[in-house]
Symmetry: C2
């Protein structure tokens, strides 16, 4: 009985890592759609978000079933609760990839990102893909050395998000107000994408170490300021 | 033993409702700080966010303790998992109130919202307070009639968020790009605030009915598009 149960816990962990892989694919294609102003690819990312939603529902239902039927304690309990939390974060990361492609669709045929700012958003997209890969590896391996890797990627992302506001919206800004708004919200999507990965990483660390608090009085990292 | 346990479940529900009350206070004061361009009040909201974070940690720790020690099933298990989810949403709502006040602090002494747009943001703030109140009442009473009330408030909020982009960023926009960006991100804070309340409401409904899916293949409402 206990062996079957642990097999099911392992299956659930694989299911969660596979969900993360789907999210990584989604954000990679969203980046490509943004870079190439490819509305067909954008539509595909939007259309396939349902796969991520269904994979999340499946993870959640399996976690609930194990919680209800097995009444796990200690590490197993933590692992199941972390699964619920991470599945939530991953679905939200998928939604943020969709938001990127929705901007592409909304502005088509005009590109969302002016040519001069493409390198900045390409870099944000690269970090998002790396964050998704590191999160997937962390879920599969529980190698806690990946937690600071994800933290460092999140800091890179935050820097890019913060410094956007030194470029956009200043007096010599030549691309109009609507573009400035698009870019601010787009940048915020990428920044939140990495925040959710950090949140998942800290939950996974909690599974391994039992240590939930980041600092006294704090369970999770504070989300970054808006700008 | 079971009676003590149910007392502790009830206490936890009260603790969660009290956390929601703190969030409601925070967003109400954030609204006032925004309306009056009151940087002292803004600082106070920012400084007191730690209370919300600590209240959330406390809820979470009590929920974990009950899960680990009592191995609850069925309704009690659902209630504890919903508590974890809702505590997460409420802390995030508190963070969004802080984002509003950070904008006040960042732009001081200039007001964030041009006079002509104050009625719109006052209305968003009013809805946020009503959403927090309804969420608190739902947690205290589990009266499911409040779920569609929260849903309707969220729709009002979404409409205001969506239509902002018909006002800001158009050719006759007179307040500059930086203001347009501030207002877009501010509007998004209010919109997300209501989204988190909806998410909590659906979890509470799940506690009562056992029905997690909103529609086939969907656990939670899809977050709204960015604009």
């Amino acid at each position: 009985m206990r062996n079957l149960y642990h097999d099911r816990l392992d299956q659930l962990s694989t299911e969660l890592a596979d969900l993360c892989a789907l999210v990584g694919d989604s954000v990679r294609r969203a980046n490509d759609a943004l870079r190439d102003n490819d509305v067909v690819l954008a539509e595909r990312v939007i259309g396939e978000d349902g796969r991520i939603d269904r994979a999340r529902v499946s993870c959640e239902e399996h976690a609930y079933a194990l919680l209800a039927l097995q009444a796990p304690v200690a590490t197993d309990l933590r692992a199941l609760l972390a699964t619920l939390h991470t599945a939530d974060s991953l679905e939200r990361m998928g939604d943020l990839a969709v938001h990127v492609t929705e901007a592409v669709r909304r502005r088509h045929p005009r590109p969302v990102v002016p040519h001069v700012l493409l390198p900045r958003f390409t870099e944000m997209g690269r970090i998002a893909v790396d964050v998704a890969k590191a999160t997937e590896a962390l879920i599969r391996t529980r190698d806690l050395d990946l937690v600071p890797v994800i933290g460092a990627l999140d800091e890179e992302m935050d820097d890019l998000h913060r410094t956007l506001f030194t470029v956009v919206g200043y007096e010599d800004w030549a691309y109009g107000v609507a573009t400035a708004i698009d870019l601010s919200l787009l940048s915020r999507c990428y920044e939140r994408f990495a925040d959710h990965a950090v949140s998942s990483a800290l939950r996974t660390r909690f599974v391994v170490t039992g240590e939930l608090r980041e600092q006294p009085g704090r369970v999770m990292p504070r989300p970054r300021v808006l700008s």
